[in-house]
Each structure stands twice: as structure tokens, then as C-alpha cells.
């Protein structure tokens, strides 16, 4: 991280900002290519060979092949792009959201039906409260 942002204090959140935009470009452009059916087929036929077409880092490549959804975000992935890999796998946004938050599909669906994840205790890392001026 090149400088501090007030949003860095939000837990479990990967803001797709300038720094992630800088490191994630190739990864997200690979995902973008999956908008074309012929590319989806090529990717499904041979994932490793298809990924060779894009200048990914070793970590980006690993996270895609292993479907490490959080790993992709940490390596500069943007959820609107990486979700296209999930669509190839026949997964939904809710399936992937459950995996990222580390609970079963059923537990996640139940949480959403009960009104979703509460902001209480989820606003700041370590539960710490931030400066009041931030909200001004």
C-alpha cells in the first residue's frame, strides 16, 4: 500500500483502488475475456494453456487455478471481473460470497435470509472505532 486510506480500516474489504488497479490489470483483463463464449470454452478446455495468453504473476495464476477467491482479490482482482470465472464454473455471486466469508453455502444463505451481516462490530478492523471526523 503506497499510502494510508481511511477505508483501509474497514475489515474484510478489498477496495479496488489505484494500487489494486495497477497490479490487477492483467488478471482482470483475463476475466474480461470470458465475456466471449469461445474464450469460455477455451478456458474450460485447458485452463493452464488459456492463462498462458495473459501476463499474470505466479500468485494470480495460482489463485485462479485453485479458485482462491480471496487470493484473487489480494492479488489485484476486482470482484466484477473475477465473478466471470465463477460464472464459468456455474457458481453464483452468493456461492462465491459464502466462500469468501468462510462459511458454508447454507450458512451464508441463512444469514442473508435473516437480514444479512450486521454492520455492528464489522465497521472497523479489530472492532476499534475510528475518528469521528471521518463521517463529517
Amino acid at each position: 500500500m503506497t499510502r494510508f486510506h481511511d477505508y483501509d480500516s474497514i475489515p474484510g474489504t478489498y477496495v479496488y483502488d489505484a494500487e489494486r488497479g495497477r497490479i490487477g490489470y492483467a488478471l482482470n483483463m483475463f476475466c474480461m475475456s470470458l465475456n466471449k463464449p469461445e474464450n469460455r470454452n477455451s478456458f474450460k478446455d485447458n485452463e493452464a494453456a488459456y492463462l498462458d495468453r495473459f501476463p499474470l504473476t505466479a500468485e494470480q495464476r495460482r489463485s485462479v487455478l485453485e479458485r482462491d477467491w480471496l487470493g484473487m482479490l489480494k492479488a489485484g482482482g476486482n470482484i466484477y471481473y473475477t465473478i466471470k470465472i465463477a460464472f464459468c464454473d456455474g457458481l453464483t455471486f452468493q456461492d462465491v460470497a459464502g466462500m469468501m466469508s468462510g462459511v458454508s453455502k447454507e450458512a451464508y444463505a441463512k444469514m442473508m435470509l435473516a437480514g444479512g451481516r450486521s454492520p455492528e462490530g464489522n465497521r472497523y478492523k479489530d472492532g476499534a472505532q475510528g475518528p469521528e471526523c471521518e463521517h463529517g
Binding site: Y14, D17, C31, M32, N78, I79, Y81, Q94, N122, E134
Partner: protein
């Protein structure tokens, strides 16, 4: 003279489109959400506008990260339906209003809003889901549509205050258009939701309710919500609510809330729908 008669705020969850396309709207999961859409459809059918300006964001469909326009207006006669990674939605292509769109582009740029102009682009669920929500499944959309895209995918999106001012500029531009058109403006996206990270699934009913109340009562106060506050309080993707300010800015200062529907969950999202009419509307 052209004039904006009403505004519609509407979430654009992709799963809502899927539920309609697959005929699942009567299932126990979806029924309460869709039931709440019926009065809005009836209202819009009676209003029968000529044109809708739909403020939405593209989700890696028409635009990639190659070029990221902050504000963009679509001036084409027709916009095809995008393949977002699972085939295009089975909905009609969107008919544009090229003349009005070009007039808006020209007026907005001269009014110091530096719009990107798109002559060709597919439209994704960000635009088509609000149309489906408010029009159902017609064989053709009942009005012309001018797509107006706002970047909310690459941080930072434009501020809420800037979006509100763009709305005001749209209102000024529309008033200068020499055709007798009745226009509705959609602000789409939101409400609270987070699709990514360990905190995925965040919903903040209190924030959303205050936001809905504020749209009528004190929209300027809402424009001072910072990006970090949206993300912290309403989830990282809740920041889409900046687009509602464009819609609100395009309406008169005094508006009446005609209808409100709020439901949790639509997949990962708090789905909101609100109709605002200008006080001077017929």
C-alpha cells in the same frame, strides 16, 4: 418542451433479472420482492413516459479496465444486450433516443460536465434489470432509453455531490430541448450490499432507511456522505448509491414520494425501489 416528470430509484441485482428470465418470481424466496414491484409497474404504465434516462454502471460488460469513463452517455439508436459471462439476458434490445442524447451530450459538456460519448455499446443488467423490474416482460420496451453510465467499479467513483450537480445539469439541458417529451430518470444500484471479501453479505437497514427518507427530505445532506462512509456503513458495493444522486439532482427541489419498496435479501443485496414525482407534475 421536454421535461422530467419523475424519478425512479431502483437496485439492479443480476439475480433479480435471472429470477424473471427463469420464471421464478412466484417462488417463496422471490415472491415478496416481486409483489412489491407491482404498484410501481402500474404507476409507470399510467405515466407512459416517452423517454427514460437510466443512470447505471456497467459491470465489466461494455467497458473493461482498458478505458474507464467516469461519466458516459449513450447516443445510439439502439443498444444490444450484453453477454456478461453467461449469455445475454433474453430481453428486448434497448431503443435509444439519439437526438435527445446528442443534445444532452452537447449541453452537458458546455455546462462543464465532460461526458464520454458512446456511439456503440451493449447494455448489461445494470440497465436492463431496472427496466424489467418496472416494466415486466414486454415484447419491446415501452419507451426510448438513454443510458448514462457512471464508473463505480474502479475506485474512486465521482462524489455524491458531483453526481447531484450532474443531475441538475441534465435538468437544465432537458428544458432546452425543443420536443414535447415526458421523461423519467432512473438512478440505479444499491442499496447496502457487499459482494467481496470476508465481510461479504453486509446489509444496513438503518442506513438504507435514512437514505430513502433523505431523498425527499434533505437530498443535499445525503450528497455529503463520503465514499468511505458508504463502504463502511453500506458495504463496498453500497457506494453505487452515488448514482441515485444524479436522479435526485435532475428533479425539482420539492418532490413527493409516491412509492417505496424495500426488501432483504435479493441474493446478497438490500433491494430498494422508490418513486419520486416533481411537485409540479401533472
Amino acid at each position: 418542451m421536454a421535461r422530467i416528470v419523475a424519478g425512479i430509484a431502483c437496485s439492479h441485482v443480476p439475480a433479480i433479472g435471472v429470477a424473471m428470465d427463469k420464471g421464478l418470481t412466484g417462488t417463496p424466496y422471490w415472491e415478496p420482492l416481486f409483489k412489491g414491484y407491482e404498484p410501481a409497474r402500474e404507476w409507470l404504465r399510467k405515466l407512459a413516459p416517452d423517454v427514460a434516462i437510466v443512470v447505471y454502471n456497467d459491470h465489466a460488460s461494455a467497458f473493461s479496465l482498458e478505458i474507464i469513463p467516469t461519466f458516459l452517455i449513450g447516443v445510439a439508436e439502439e443498444f444490444p444486450i450484453a453477454d456478461e459471462g453467461f449469455g445475454p439476458r433474453p430481453v428486448p434490445a434497448v431503443r435509444g433516443h439519439s437526438q435527445l442524447a446528442w443534445h444532452l451530450a452537447e449541453s452537458l459538456i458546455l455546462d462543464e460536465f465532460d461526458m464520454t460519448i458512446a456511439n456503440q455499446m451493449p447494455v448489461d443488467h445494470g440497465l436492463t434489470v431496472p427496466l424489467s423490474v418496472t416494466c415486466g416482460r414486454p415484447p419491446a420496451w415501452p419507451f426510448a432509453v438513454i443510458p448514462l453510465c457512471v464508473n463505480v467499479v474502479q475506485y474512486p467513483p465521482p462524489t455524491g455531490a458531483r453526481c447531484f450537480k450532474l443531475g441538475q445539469a441534465i435538468r437544465r439541458a432537458v428544458a432546452q430541448f425543443d420536443q414535447d417529451l415526458r421523461i423519467v430518470i432512473y438512478g440505479t444500484g444499491g442499496m447496502s450490499h457487499q459482494l467481496q471479501g470476508e465481510r461479504a453479505g453486509l446489509i444496513n437497514r438503518q442506513f438504507d432507511t435514512a437514505f430513502l427518507d433523505g431523498l425527499t427530505r434533505d437530498p443535499l445532506a445525503l450528497t455529503r456522505i463520503t465514499h468511505t462512509e458508504y463502504m463502511r456503513e453500506a458495504g463496498s458495493e453500497g457506494i453505487e448509491m452515488v448514482m441515485w444522486h444524479v436522479m435526485r439532482g435532475a428533479l425539482e427541489e420539492r418532490v413527493a414520494e409516491v412509492y417505496r419498496h424495500y426488501h432483504v435479501p435479493a441474493s446478497n443485496t438490500a433491494a430498494g425501489l422508490m418513486i419520486l414525482e416533481n411537485r409540479s407534475a401533472e
